[in-house]
């Protein structure tokens, strides 16, 4: 796991936690849709960043290994 991937996961979890906290403590209307929207966007972006940074690390290692 790369440093970028770890940062992305931590930030993603913090973002979802903030939305859940705000939606529940402030008794927001349609909180379920609000949380679902932020959670889905966060999951999509975090999965892509984790996947991209891991693919990049592997490719860099493969090229470095050849040299």
């Amino acid at each position: 796991m790369t440093k970028t991937a770890i940062v992305a996961i931590v930030v993603g979890l913090a973002a979802i936690a903030l939305v859940v906290f705000a939606a529940t403590t402030r008794d927001m209307s349609n909180a379920d849709f609000l949380i679902a929207a932020y959670a889905s966007a966060t999951v999509i972006l975090v999965i892509y960043i984790v996947s991209l940074s891991n693919r990049l690390k592997k490719a860099q290692e493969a090229r470095g290994g050849e040299g």
């Binding site: 970028t4 209307s29 932020y38 889905s40 493969a62």
Partner: protein, 226 residues
């Protein structure tokens, strides 16, 4: 400054802006009079379209540059722009559906804005599928560039669709029609998504370059063997 360093700076700036935008959007911005709190989906939905436009515009410009120069550098930017643009496009479609259900009563409807946006996603998904199925690097880059150029024609149609065909989706809001306490979180999130898109594209270009170099070496080896 290298693209790697520039990408890292954009990534760090995006994190700061995301924290500011999300905190103010959820905790400071007031409740909307008609929609209630569900309008807060706007702070992730609209920035997704900023990322989409940035990605597809990059793919479009890079594809024209590739067709003119035949320099693979532009092909790498083309694929990065299309992939990141599609990622944000899907994010926008999903958050839009989750906003549509409580406000319109449906997750999806064949409204011109939604339909043209779906066509845009399918076109750029096709771009990536085309790349995956073509082996020759030059013909693949040429064909993919043409798809990106033709596919980009839909982007202004998506933007103007809400003005040309007035149906369910609202027209674009302006800062004059929105509470200032809603405008700043939205601006912070828009800039954050733009910078996040740049960060992802610089990483994707680095990956494409490494794979491209490896592919070129394989082609050279095969030619030498023959």
């Amino acid at each position: 400054m290298t693209a790697d360093k520039f990408g890292k700076i954009c990534g760090i700036a995006a994190l700061v802006l995301l924290a500011v935008g999300l905190a103010t959007g959820m905790l400071v911005a007031p409740r909307e009079r008609i929609m209630g709190d569900v309008y807060r989906i706007m702070f992730v939905h609209f920035p997704s379209w900023v990322g989409t436009a940035a990605g597809y515009l990059t793919a479009f410009v890079a594809s024209i540059a590739y067709i003119k120069t035949r320099d693979f550098k532009w092909d790498y930017w083309g694929q990065a722009g299309a992939e990141v643009g599609l990622l944000f496009n899907v994010t926008g479609l999903i958050t839009g559906a989750l906003w549509g259900r409580p406000t319109w009563g449906v997750y999806w409807t064949w409204d011109p804005r939604l339909t043209t946006t779906a066509i845009m996603a399918i076109t750029f998904a096709g771009y990536l599928v085309l790349r995956a199925f073509m082996e020759d690097p030059e013909s693949r880059a040429r064909a993919a560039s043409l798809v990106a150029i033709v596919g980009f024609v839909n982007v202004p149609i998506v933007y103007f669709s809400v003005r040309w065909w007035r149906t369910l989706h609202q027209v674009q809001s302006s800062p004059e029609t929105v509470d200032p306490q809603m405008v700043w979180p939205l601006r912070a999130m828009m800039l954050a998504f733009l910078l996040l898109g740049v960060f992802m594209m610089t990483r994707r270009v680095m990956l494409a370059r490494l794979r491209g170099e490896e592919e070129m070496e394989m082609v050279r080896l095969e030619v030498a063997r023959d």
